[in-house]
């Protein structure tokens, strides 16, 4: 009886505890705006490089290369953005503040959710900045409000899935470098996908990989949505990848959190 009462009080506080945790890591973000700038500048540099340097030589079959490129650039931005979640979590573990939270009567997952929601907000900021730059250099979209909402939903899901992967890295890393290094292969994935060039130009083995990894399905879906084309079955493949990664990463992250002392 006593036990159930206690569990009730803890659950009643879940959202207020979560808002404290979210407020905490949002402060971290806004007090280190350089992290958001860093995350935003690299994808913008790639975008400019591909549009103004390589773009002329790339045959995509579409007239506007910025339109073709943007979905992949956004994924690169998110992939590098989540590494800061890993970094912040790793710092919490190092400084021992995680032990303080774990020894307090608060729901164990609030601390992690605070970091994860913060990641959503900070990545949303970077994505908006990059889209603004893309508009300046010629990005145009005929997508309606529903298509835009679908794009937002897919990007949010992709961010959530990758952030939980970042949580695992942050909790289990032995060093700051280790906490951040996991994101390098993820940042690299868009380059071996249809993000920059159509997969049909690739040699068979590379092409097979490119066409069966998550980024291609996500990029194709977002590209179709933004250009007002009908989305193919790619959207289901994209959603399956995101939800699958999200569920598996969440389970392992919670396990790592409970084990980490």
């Amino acid at each position: 009886m006593e036990m159930t009462q206690n569990q009730e009080t803890i659950q009643n506080h879940f959202f207020s505890d979560l808002s404290v945790m979210l407020g905490r890591s949002m402060r971290h973000i806004f007090r280190s705006m350089d992290t958001i700038i860093t995350v935003t500048i690299m994808p913008i540099a790639f975008m400019l490089l591909f549009v103004y340097v390589f773009g002329g030589a790339i045959q995509t079959g579409t007239a506007n290369y910025v339109n073709y490129l943007l979905p992949g650039i956004l994924l690169i931005a998110i992939a590098s953005g989540i590494s800061y979640t890993a970094y912040r979590l790793f710092t919490d573990v190092q400084r021992g503040i995680i032990e303080r939270f774990r020894s307090m009567p608060i729901a164990p997952s609030t601390m992690l959710w605070g970091h994860v929601l913060t990641s959503l907000v900070s990545n949303a900021i970077s994505v908006v900045v990059i889209i603004l730059v893309a508009l300046i250099i010629g990005f145009r979209s005929s997508a309606g409000i529903l298509s835009w909402l679908a794009v937002v939903g897919i990007l949010a899901l992709f961010t959530l899935a990758l952030t939980w992967v970042a949580v695992i890295a942050g909790l289990t890393a032995k060093s700051t470098d280790g906490a951040v290094a996991f994101s390098y292969p993820i940042i690299f994935l868009p380059f071996i996908s249809s993000a920059f060039v159509p997969t049909r130009s690739m040699p068979p083995v590379v092409r097979a990989f490119a066409e069966h990894q998550p980024v291609t399905a996500i990029v194709e879906t977002i590209r179709a949505l933004l250009s007002g084309q009908p989305v193919s079955h790619d959207i289901w493949v994209a959603l399956a990848w995101c939800v699958g990664i999200l569920v598996v990463a969440y389970i392992f992250a919670m396990r790592a959190y409970k084990k980490r002392v």
Partner: protein
């Protein structure tokens, strides 16, 4: 009332036995010092008592609740001050305290924060980021954060390690005040002097077991009677340091 009670507590990491049957009793409102050298298992014991780690065997009861079966109740009874100052460097001192106060669901978080800032002499630094604090200030903020919400039992894991002598004496004063106010304090230390100064009850942890336990007087009685020798008393470096900086005398 017994606030902390363990019977046959055991913990191993792989083949390495860290705790090999620990029996302890800590009475309410007392200061209990666990003495032991580095790696003796003091932190492991604290982690089990504060629900951060599960024991392999034996029982641990904190404030009447079993740490293994009722961890949520146990967490409500205690606060932990770990070995490294568990403070948020990106936040200010005041924000750190308000954060903990809100997580402990105290009625007026700001007021509680201000009271603790005053009490620990951090009012002037309250709105500065903790990354600019000295080691002693961090430690004081760390302890202040542990006092939010008036938990009945305070676990202090080597609270004075890395502090300068002045800050250490300051810390001793605070810990004594806490116990005088009815709190139970469980602290670990490597310093014999610290245990002598503070503790109502001392236990010595060595190779996984408690090899001696009792009040300072009881422990002294168990050793051969002191022989009287005349030795010229040299001031310790600590006494010299304190005399020179003209601050409080060592007690």
């Amino acid at each position: 009332m017994t606030m902390i009670k363990t019977r046959g507590l055991r913990k191993s990491f792989g083949d390495h036995v860290v705790l090999d049957g620990i029996d302890l009793d800590v009475a309410e409102g007392t200061i209990f010092a666990l003495l032991g050298s580095n790696g003796a298992g003091k932190t492991t014991l604290i982690k089990i008592l504060t629900t951060l780690l599960k024991q392999d065997g034996g029982k641990a009861i904190v404030n009447g609740f079993d740490v293994a079966s009722k961890p949520a109740h146990v967490r409500q009874s205690l606060s932990l001050t770990g070995q490294s100052a568990a403070v948020d460097e990106m936040l200010t001192g005041r924000e750190n305290l308000i954060m903990i106060a809100r997580l402990r669901h105290v009625k007026q978080p700001r007021q509680v924060a201000d009271e603790l800032l005053t009490r620990f002499g951090l009012t002037d630094a309250a709105n500065r980021r903790v990354s600019t604090y000295s080691g002693g200030m961090r430690r004081r903020l760390d302890l202040a954060m542990s006092l939010v919400g008036t938990p009945q039992i305070l676990f202090l894991d080597e609270p004075t390690t890395g502090l300068d002598p002045e800050a250490r004496i300051e810390m001793w004063k605070v810990v004594k005040e806490l116990a005088d106010g009815g709190r139970t304090v469980f602290l670990t230390t490597q310093y014999l002097e610290e245990a002598e100064q503070l503790a109502d009850h001392i236990a010595i942890l060595h190779e996984g077991t408690i090899i001696a336990s009792g009040t300072l007087m009881e422990l002294k009685k168990r050793f051969p009677p002191a022989q009287v020798e005349y030795v010229e008393k040299q001031p310790t470096l600590e006494e010299i340091f304190l005399a020179i900086i003209g601050k409080k005398e060592a007690q």
